[in-house]
């Protein structure tokens, strides 16, 4: 990746900010030759990821920092993008970030599942500084790799 192509957006955990950020991610995906359907999935996944940071990580606080990095990425000749979301949430157990059984018909708990189903690669790690979570997810043009079977 050419570092000069990376787009970095820093904002506070006010959900009203998320609309502009996800629109930027969708526009970047299209600019980097991701197809329209996949770009829409990028937008949805980012929406879910930011909601999780705001609701669960920051527990509704609207004055906490979030950084989103967008960068072009390729896999097997397929154009795509990588989205990295960094927060400063404390005491997050990465093992507990997982989707719930879908046979339970109840409100809530679908965000992680939607992210996993719409993106090709999803990885949660702790920030290099030790505080906060880094979610890196990638999307490439064309059909989902994980749903290919």
């Amino acid at each position: 990746m050419d570092a000069s192509e990376e787009i970095v957006i820093r904002f506070f955990s006010q959900p009203r900010n998320f609309c502009a950020v996800r629109a930027a991610a969708e526009a970047a995906a299209l600019a980097w030759r991701v197809d329209e359907v996949s770009a829409g999935q990028v937008k949805l996944a980012l929406t879910e990821a930011l909601a999780n940071v705001a609701k669960h990580g920051y527990q509704g606080r609207t004055d906490q920092p979030i950084c989103v990095r967008l960068a072009p990425e390729q896999r097997d000749g397929r154009p795509g993008l990588a989205i990295t979301i960094e927060d400063r949430c404390k005491d997050v157990d990465l093992e507990k970030i997982k989707s719930r059984p879908l046979d339970e018909i109840r409100p809530g708990g679908l965000g992680v599942h939607i992210i996993e189903q719409t993106m090709d690669e999803v990885e949660y790690t702790t920030n290099p500084g030790g505080e906060g979570v880094r979610l890196r997810m990638c999307k490439f043009a064309g059909p989902l790799e994980r749903n290919a079977d």
């Binding site: 959900p15 909601a51 879908l102 018909i105 965000g111």
Partner: protein, 115 residues
């Protein structure tokens, strides 16, 4: 578009219930307003609630959660919830969440009146 106002643009009485037309993205910002509007409608125990989503280009899991809550209330009171006019991106959220068999989803308002 995340203006919390005007998520419900039209509310129309049906013979056996209420038709609600939504507009704009339904996300973490706007879902509480949608929930509030729908709960007010449910206070009157309508036999049928039709939610027209043709003006909704994006719905996240908070919007889906709101509709699941409405569905459960309707079912518990013997009423129906019918969704219609889903755009492709919104339809895909219900498919991904395996909810297309849980909700009654039809193509348009006319179908929803009799579904």
């Amino acid at each position: 578009m995340s203006d919390a106002k005007n998520v419900v643009t039209t509310r129309e009485d049906l013979d056996d219930g209420v038709l609600v037309v939504l507009s704009g993205e339904v996300d973490l910002v706007r879902s509480p307003a949608l929930r509030s509007e729908l709960m007010t409608i449910l206070d009157a125990s309508p036999a049928r609630v039709v939610v027209d989503l043709s003006g909704v280009p994006l719905m996240d899991s908070s919007g889906v959660a709101t509709l699941i809550e409405v569905l459960q209330i309707q079912r518990s009171s013997g009423g129906k919830l019918v969704l219609c006019g889903l755009q492709e991106k919104v339809q895909s959220v219900f498919e991904i969440s395996r909810l297309t068999e849980v909700f009654t989803i039809v193509s348009d308002r006319d179908s929803a009146r009799s579904a």
